[in-house]
Symmetry: C2
Subunit: 361 residues, 2 copies
């Protein structure tokens, strides 16, 4: 068998170390055949819910819901939480997609846009008067720009009557978000949780449910038919889902979250910080690279983007021959940037090997 | 390790015989980490597309698209193909859900309803005048009632200016549907394809795309933002998906479809018919059981439902002790019916064991 690749891509990504063991357990337990209306499934959902709740400090009043992908959650959030107006902080392809979803759903979507590679601070943000939902992207996967948690919390606190959504697709569970402050957040499992794609996770509080229930009663408006929030929530109360979900991935997510809890979220954050520091120090000091995000406060800890002097394809191809897979820049930056994931599944040892290989470029 | 269960449940169901082998191949090839924008992914999509096209005789003009589930497709079909009015043939929980999705999406949904366990013939159906989309359920999973393919084809032929959707969730690839006649159909992989849940498959022709493009231009209407048909189709043209899909399940679906093609769809249909005949003959002749669908023409070949004299829970519990898992009746029939899947993964040998166990009830 060929030597295995090590993935430093921002998702799909390197799989979590115990992934194969847990997948084998799922096969042995025939998780692929069990009914999603069985006690066994409800136990799996409950376990994954508990582990995520511990890991990310999610309070009791919030629900943890499952969809097909995080992109689907963008749509569900707009349909269920916005009657007329949303407001979007946009500085890359994914925050822009969230904004465009709102437009496609005929909402009046306000935008505060920054150039790629620039981030948002709390004190510069002016929220339009009739905004019902503020949409932030904690970690913009396309550009490696993050919004610091305290800025997110301040933005919500000063807009307490509006709802606040946080896209944490490519950073969860790293960011220390206060779920007693923000209203809703979401991520997908093929990023920092190190699992194959096929499951979105949507965290929402009662204020979201109340809003969705209000909108549901409106004539001439609909909140969607599939995975609308009230239906997801009603099923969640008995640890079920409205339709057959990706049972195996819910099972695996619980196992990985349990592993992470054994390690401790503080240790995971510390290791992430240490690896990020090493990677940024390297790209700051090496002649061929420079950090594409100028302001250190806005540099993502989980998706690290470097401008390259050489065409990025040359670097990516040379590393591929060594079984190291890097991401290219996104969209217009495809040829001039590399993107490096710094997820829990990317070990310090792997990061050091990557740096030593990049050092020879 | 405990003895493995044999699943006769209507989905999630018994897994396809080579499932574990192909899953191991996916793990070895690191399919869980590859980018959905890579050539490797496009090759996987293309392969699965080709194998399904052969298996189900899908013509070139139709696209094969992936969603999170078949339930999601109900929503996408209504959003993308109906401006005002849909028409639904309803005779069970799942055909009713399709109808209710249309209502939730504020469409004027017409219904022609039959009692549970009864089916539809072409010549009794009167399509309301302004119907844009006729929604049929080829195989109603909740009651084991099927609609014969010739009736479906005649219904479309006599309504050539309307679109026709066919729910084949729990029967595909068994029904011999003429995809040059019907416009759109869909299924999920955790039924007759014998895979874990987490992927919906949506087949749609150009007439569907044209309609969705027309509706997209309407003011005051939207066709959804996530997985809308024009976006899915545009991505499909390069064998990509708009968002990260369930890459591993797309890979596995291609492998299972290839296995089925090696066996030949005619042989699969023949075996299905033979097993169905055995099962129906048994429940027709045994004192404790009777077929819940009276009209033999409307009896599903893939989900066989029997009325039970004893409470069905007694039968299900006794078989469970022998590692045979049966489904209960759906909804109101929970205690008085058993449901038996007859999918390609349920072998004749297994069916014979099941019959001999049921014979002792």
């Amino acid at each position: 068998m060929a030597r295995k690749n090590v993935y430093f891509t921002a998702g799909p990504a390197e799989l979590y170390p115990n992934f194969e063991t847990y997948l084998q357990q799922a096969v042995d337990e025939q998780i692929g055949s069990i009914s999603h209306r069985s006690q066994k499934f409800r136990d799996i959902y409950k376990f994954t819910d508990e582990q995520l709740r511990i890991l990310m400090n999610i309070p009791e009043g919030s629900a943890i819901l499952f969809t097909g992908s995080a992109s689907e959650v963008w749509e569900r959030i707009i349909l269920n939480l916005v009657e007329h107006e949303s407001f979007h902080l946009v500085n890359g392809s994914f925050s822009e997609k969230f904004y465009k979803y709102a437009q496609s759903l005929n909402k009046f979507a306000h935008i505060y846009e920054k150039p790629l590679s620039e981030g948002f601070d709390y004190n510069e943000i002016v929220v339009p008067e009739y905004t019902e939902l503020i949409c932030t992207t904690q970690n913009e996967t396309s550009t490696g720009v993050m919004m610091r948690e305290p800025d997110i919390h301040k933005l919500k606190r000063s807009n307490s009557k509006r709802l606040m959504a946080v896209d944490m697709v490519s950073s969860a569970p790293y960011p220390n978000l206060d779920f007693s402050v923000i209203d809703t957040a979401f991520f997908s499992v093929q990023k920092a949780f190190g699992l194959p794609a096929g499951l979105g996770v949507w965290i929402a509080n009662r204020a979201c449910l109340d809003k969705a229930n209000r909108l549901k009663k409106h004539d001439g408006l609909h909140i969607g038919a599939h995975h609308d929030l009230p239906t997801l929530w009603r099923n969640y109360e008995k640890f079920e889902t409205p339709a057959t979900p990706n049972v195996i991935l819910i099972y695996l997510l619980g196992k990985v979250a349990e592993d992470m809890n054994k390690k401790g979220i503080d240790n995971i954050r510390k290791e992430t910080d240490e690896k990020a520091k090493k990677l940024y120090r390297f790209i700051e000091t090496h002649d061929s690279f420079s950090p594409s995000v100028q302001n250190p406060d806005h540099r993502s800890k989980t998706v690290i983007v470097a401008d390259t002097k050489k065409p990025s394809a040359d670097i990516i191809d040379r590393l591929k021959k060594k079984n190291i897979i890097l991401g290219a820049g996104y969209g217009p930056a495809k040829d001039s940037q590399i993107r490096i994931s710094n997820f829990p599944a990317n070990s310090m040892e792997q990061v050091e090997i990557l740096i030593s290989e990049l050092n020879q470029m």
